[in-house]
């Protein structure tokens, strides 16, 4: 492309962004925009498939057949989300296999929340309620993301996530109105998942590295702190309904602003977990890599079989 036509293409890109319209795969786009999206969509896809593990951990032990069926469907949904997110990333000219390789070799990350262990059945409720709840707050604005394929994938993902969030709340509601042992289990899960859930919105605005450019490109619509506030405002009244105590002594409703003030999570923990120093980082990645490596001969066989079929048809 000549300098002049490149300049024109970039003008047209900016005009699309300014008009709040969607960029589509064949449209010209700045390299930085493409790279940012590939990174973000891939990390989102990785989070979906790594996220299958902490919940998958409880399928075999789900305490009723109805819960088992719901949990299987939920974890299966997450595999489906991974599939369409990888497909959305592929519209930007990358390959799912390469992205998986980046995940497996630690060159791309996934959401740090999945580096925490699921220790009791109540954790399945807490993940649905808090983690999927936080994911929805993060993801609803992405339905209006400037990149069309990502925005459309998110519409579907968000619909399913909202079902996931409700089932999580319902699990905890059943526990919190159940036996003393079940109530204790529910409170313990909230105590452990509250702070990591707040960290899901990323570092405070003042130290967020990618935010400003992503906002200008219409990839990101709200700041980390805005979204975190929205999550707290939404979640605290739900905890009241559950009769569970949010483990934050600094939590106060401010009549004037209509928002809760709350204690910020310990972001040094977030940075440590992102760096690899969380309770399950090694296990999650090792499990993922093992599934991939154990499946190599199957994928090779499928490719060899397809090639033979092509040859026979020719």
């Amino acid at each position: 492309m000549s300098h002049l036509s490149y300049a024109r293409a970039m003008d047209s890109f900016q005009a699309t962004i300014d008009a709040d319209s969607r960029i589509e795969p064949r449209d010209a786009m700045p390299d930085g925009y493409r790279k940012t999206l590939i990174r973000q969509i891939a990390q989102h896809a990785h989070s979906e498939i790594i996220g299958m593990q902490p919940e998958g951990n409880w399928i075999s032990r789900a305490p009723s057949l109805r819960r088992k069926a719901i949990l299987m469907a939920k974890v299966q949904d997450e595999a489906g989300h991974g599939l369409y997110l990888y497909a959305a990333a592929e519209t930007l000219g990358v390959d799912r296999a390469d992205l998986l390789d980046m995940l497996h070799t630690g060159r791309q990350k996934y959401s740090s929340i999945f580096n925490y262990p699921t220790l009791t059945w109540a954790d399945i409720g807490a993940i649905g309620w808090l983690v999927d709840g936080a994911a929805i707050v993060n993801q609803v604005p992405l339905c209006r993301c400037s990149y069309g394929p990502y925005a459309r994938a998110m519409v579907r993902v968000c619909k399913e996530e909202s079902f996931h969030q409700r089932q999580g709340f319902e699990i905890l509601h059943t526990l919190s109105t159940g036996t003393p042992g079940q109530q204790a289990m529910a409170q313990d899960a909230l105590d452990r998942w509250w702070w990591p859930s707040l960290m899901m919105f990323g570092p405070p605005d003042a130290s967020s590295t990618h935010s400003e450019q992503s906002m200008a490109w219409g990839i990101k619509r709200h700041s980390n702190d805005e979204l975190r506030q929205r999550f707290v405002d939404m979640t605290v009244p739900q905890a009241d309904v559950l009769g569970l105590r949010v483990p934050d002594d600094g939590l106060v409703y401010d009549e004037v602003t209509g928002h809760y003030s709350f204690t910020q999570p310990d972001f040094t923990e977030l940075y440590e977990v992102v760096k690899g120093n969380g309770p399950c980082n090694e296990k999650r990645l090792a499990t993922r890599v093992k599934a991939h490596e154990d499946g190599a001969w199957v994928r090779e066989a499928a490719a060899a079989y397809a090639a033979k079929q092509m040859e026979r048809a020719a």
Partner: protein, 244 residues
């Protein structure tokens, strides 16, 4: 216990234990598409199990969860094929080919049962297991006729699981005297015809006749079953009287 209760339990336990094993593949499958597909199949099996256990429970005042979580190992009536540990992906597909082909023939006949619940469950399930058979068939062909490694693994899986297939077709007084049941002995020839056609096309050899395991229908299981149930039942049994 009535014959009908026992019969519904046999079919329901097969589906329940198959689903429990199938679910272990979720997040461990060779590719993401397969996590979705095996999850789907497991959900179908679990759905069949729930319908059948609810039906059995309705005859003696128990719920599906009473039956799934609070019976002892000797009271489970599934065939041993369903409870064996997963092994590699070739084993998963060999088991699914054997089991779903059996279920397909069974449900197809059970649709005509005079028992409305059984025929209703069968009418829905027969469509689901037709897909399971197709999925297993496609993989047995790919693996059998893929690479030399996949051929070796597919052959090993077909051979190792074959000794657990006779039990699927075991007849006894109960199925012979219960008019709404299907006597599985009558399904064997057609099952063999279908399964062996897939094996032949996959370029694998037909498994040889060998020792055949039995006992599941009378509650005698493999050593693996206790561990499977320990995992399945642990949380529910730790909180007696709780609802979930």
């Amino acid at each position: 216990m009535s014959d009908l209760f026992t019969y519904a339990l046999r079919l329901g336990d097969d589906a329940l234990i198959a689903a429990q094993r199938m679910a272990e593949w979720i997040a461990a499958a060779p590719q993401l598409e397969e996590d979705v597909a095996l999850g789907n199949i497991g959900l179908d099996q679990l759905g069949q199990a729930r319908s059948l256990l609810q039906y059995a429970g309705s005859m003696d005042g128990r719920t599906e969860d009473d039956l799934a979580y609070f019976r002892e190992e000797r009271e489970f009536l599934n065939v041993q094929l369903c409870e064996l540990p997963n092994g590699d992906f070739a084993h998963a597909m060999a088991r699914l080919l054997y089991f779903a082909s059996y279920q397909h023939l069974l449900y197809d006949e059970l649709r005509a049962s005079a028992d409305e619940t059984l025929s209703g469950v069968a009418g829905k399930a027969v469509k689901e297991v037709a897909y399971h058979v197709d999925h297993a068939t496609q993989w047995v062909l790919r693996l059998g006729d893929g690479t030399s490694e996949s051929h070796r693994r597919m052959q090993a899986a077909l051979d190792e699981l074959w000794p657990y297939t006779a039990e699927l077709f075991e007849s006894d007084d109960l199925v012979r005297r219960l008019p709404v049941a299907v006597d599985p002995a009558g399904l064997r020839d057609e099952w063999e015809r279908r399964v062996l056609a897939v094996i032949d096309e996959s370029t694998c050899s037909r498994p040889e006749a060998s020792y055949q395991h039995r006992g599941g229908r009378s509650g005698q299981h493999t050593e693996h079953m206790g561990f499977l149930l320990a995992e399945l039942q642990h949380v529910a049994r730790s909180h007696p009287g709780a609802t979930w």
